[in-house]
Amino acid sequence: MSEEMDRESIIKAVDEILRTHNLPVDKEDYEWMVNNYPKIREMVGKLRIPEARYVSPALVFSPL
C-alpha cells in the first residue's frame, strides 16, 4: 500500500482522521503519523487472511 499512496493523499487521510477524532497533535507527532500511516495501513492489511473470510470474530456477547 505504501507504494500506492502519494504524500498528498496521506496528508489528506491523516487530516481527516484527526478532524474526525478531534485529536490535536503537535508538529512532531503529526509528522510521525503522516510518515507511519502507509506502514500501518500495510500492516493491518495483513489481517485480511483468506482463512478468516468466514470465521466469526472472537467476541462474546451475552444478553443475560
Binding site: L23, M33, A52
Partner: protein, 467 residues
C-alpha cells in the same frame, strides 16, 4: 538475606529472621537503589513495617496463613492499594481513581499475610517508553543501567532482580510481565486469561490484560499464583473454574513430557539475536537430557496473530484514552500518546478483522498443542536494548513473541537461561494449554533445578549497599 520466597518462608518459620527484620532490610536497600534504578514510585515504609509486625505476631501465636506470610511484596503502580496513591506512572490519571479500596489481587495478598512494601514503576499506562519530561524516574536495568529493564512492569523486574522485594505484581497485555522478567533475569508468568482478577487495575487492553506474579524462581511464581487465582464477580472477564494446583507437578522431572519448538517465525526469524537463540536451544537440550521429548512444530499465522494483538491492544487503549488525548495530549509522555494514537489510523473493520484472526490463531494453536505439552521459544528477540538505541517504531519493527499468547489467553512464562556476551540476561518462554499452568511450572521448575541463572543477582553497587 534470603533470595527467594521459598527460602525466606523457611527462615521466618525457623526464627532465623523476623518479617520486621527482613522488611526493614529490604526497604533500606530499596531506598538506597532508588536514584540509580528507579524501581519504585512509592515506598510504603510505615504500613509495610506494621504489616510485618502483624505477621511476626501471627507466627508467634502459631497462626500461619501460608507461604506468603511475612514476605515483602511489591505492587505495580497501576493496581489500586488503599494505603498508597496509584499513578499509572502518568500525570493524566485522575488521582481520585486511586481513592478506593485495594484491588482484588492486593486483598488476596494481604489476606495471605504478605507485606506490601511499595508501588513499583512502569511505563506510563503500561505502554510506550519512558519519557523523562513527565517528571517520573526512568527505570533502569540493574545489569547495565544504560539498558532498558523492559516494560511495562519495569519496577517489578528491577526490584526482584536486585533483591528489593521477594516477589511482585506485574501486568501483561502484550508481554509486560515477560519482557521485564527476561531483561532483568527473573521469572514471570501471565496465566490463563481470566484466572486472576484484574479488578482494580487501570485497563490497557480490556480483552488482553492480565495481572500476574513475578519472582526470582518458578516455585515462587507458583506460590504467588496459587494465592492470586480465583473467580471474582467484580471482573467481567473472570473465569468461574476450579483453581488448578499450581505446585502439583514441581518434582524436578520432565519425563514423559513433549516440548514443541515452533520453528517458523520464532526460531527462524531474521531479527532473532544468535545469542538468544543459542541460549534457548541450550535450555531445550538440557530439558531433553532430563527426559523430555522435543519435536519441531509450526504455528501458522504467528505474524498475523501478533498484528492482531497490536491492533486489539491499541484500539482498546484508544477507546479508554480518547477523551484525554483530545483535551490534554501534552500531559502524556510523548511515546505513550503516540503509541495509543496509532489506533486512530485503524478502522472499525480492522478491529473486527483482528478478532477474526484471533479466532483463527486460537484454533491453530489448539491444534499444535494437541501434540505437545508445552511450547518453548525465546521470550524476546534480543537481550535488553540500550536507551541509546531506542526508536519509537522499534516495537513495530521488532517481532513480538509474547503478544500472540495474550491474544489466545494461554499461560506463558519467562525464565532466565543465561547471559549474553555483554552480561545481559537471556530468556526463554514456556507456553501451556489453557489452565495448564502446573505443566508450565513443572517444565520451568525442572530447568531451574538444574541451573542457577535465576539466582544470579546484579553486581550493582551504590553508596552503602552492594548486591
Amino acid at each position: 538475606m534470603p533470595l527467594t520466597i521459598e527460602e525466606a518462608a523457611g527462615w521466618l518459620r525457623s526464627g532465623k529472621i523476623t518479617s520486621q527484620e527482613l522488611t526493614a532490610a529490604l526497604l533500606a536497600r530499596a531506598h538506597a537503589y532508588q536514584d540509580t534504578v528507579g524501581a519504585f514510585i512509592t515506598l510504603m515504609d510505615e504500613s509495610a513495617l506494621a504489616e510485618a509486625k502483624a505477621a511476626d505476631t501471627n507466627f508467634a501465636a502459631g497462626i500461619d496463613k501460608g507461604p506468603l506470610q511475612g514476605i515483602p511484596i511489591g505492587v505495580k503502580d497501576i493496581i489500586a492499594t488503599i494505603d498508597a496513591p496509584s499513578t499509572a506512572n502518568s500525570n493524566v490519571l485522575d488521582p481520585a481513581w486511586g481513592n478506593r479500596e485495594d484491588a482484588t489481587v492486593v486483598k488476596k495478598l494481604r489476606q495471605a499475610g504478605a507485606v506490601i512494601v511499595g508501588k513499583l514503576s512502569l511505563n506510563e499506562f503500561a505502554i510506550g517508553w519512558p519519557d523523562p519530561t513527565t517528571g517520573f524516574r526512568v527505570p533502569r536495568n540493574p545489569w547495565n543501567v544504560a539498558h532498558s529493564p523492559g516494560g511495562s512492569s519495569s519496577g517489578t523486574g528491577i526490584a526482584v532482580a536486585l533483591g528489593l522485594i521477594l516477589g511482585g505484581l506485574g501486568t501483561d497485555t502484550g508481554g509486560s510481565i515477560r519482557f521485564p522478567a527476561a531483561f532483568c533475569g527473573i521469572s514471570g508468568i501471565k496465566q490463563t486469561f481470566g484466572l486472576v482478577s484484574k479488578e482494580g487495575c487501570v485497563p490497557l487492553g480490556y480483552s488482553l490484560d492480565h495481572i500476574g506474579p513475578m519472582a526470582r524462581s518458578v516455585y515462587d511464581c507458583a506460590v504467588m499464583l496459587q494465592v492470586l487465582a480465583g473467580y471474582d464477580p467484580l471482573d467481567p472477564c473472570s473465569l468461574n473454574v476450579a483453581v488448578p494446583e499450581m505446585l502439583a507437578g514441581l518434582d524436578g522431572s520432565v519425563e514423559g513430557l513433549t516440548i514443541g519448538l515452533p520453528i517458523p517465525y520464532f526460531f527462524d526469524n531474521p531479527a532473532l539475536d544468535p545469542e538468544v537463540k543459542a541460549g534457548v536451544l541450550g535450555a531445550v537440550d538440557l530439558l531433553k537430557e532430563a527426559g523430555a521429548k522435543v519435536v519441531e512444530v509450526a504455528l501458522s499465522y504467528a505474524e498475523e496473530g501478533s498484528i492482531a494483538q497490536r491492533v486489539t491492544m491499541f484500539s482498546e487503549a484508544f477507546a479508554y484514552h480518547e477523551g484525554d488525548l483530545q483535551t490534554k495530549p501534552e500531559i502524556y509522555g510523548r511515546y505513550t500518546r503516540r503509541s495509543i494514537r496509532e489506533a486512530a489510523l485503524y478502522t472499525g473493520a480492522d478491529y473486527v478483522q483482528a478478532q477474526r484472526v484471533r479466532s483463527v490463531i486460537k484454533q491453530k494453536l489448539a491444534g499444535v498443542m494437541q501434540g505437545v505439552d508445552v511450547l518453548v521459544m525465546p521470550t524476546a528477540a534480543s537481550p535488553a536494548p540500550s536507551f541509546a538505541d531506542f526508536e519509537t517504531n522499534s516495537t513495530k519493527d521488532v517481532p513480538s513473541f509474547c503478544g500472540l499468547f495474550n491474544l489466545t489467553g494461554s499461560p506463558a512464562m519467562s525464565i532466565p537461561v543465561g547471559f549474553s556476551s555483554r552480561g545481559l540476561p537471556l530468556s526463554m518462554q514456556i507456553v501451556g494449554k489453557p489452565l495448564a499452568e502446573s505443566t508450565v511450572f513443572k517444565v520451568g521448575h525442572a530447568y531451574q533445578q538444574r541451573t542457577n541463572w535465576h539466582l544470579k543477582v546484579p553486581e550493582l553497587t551504590v553508596e552503602g549497599v552492594s548486591a
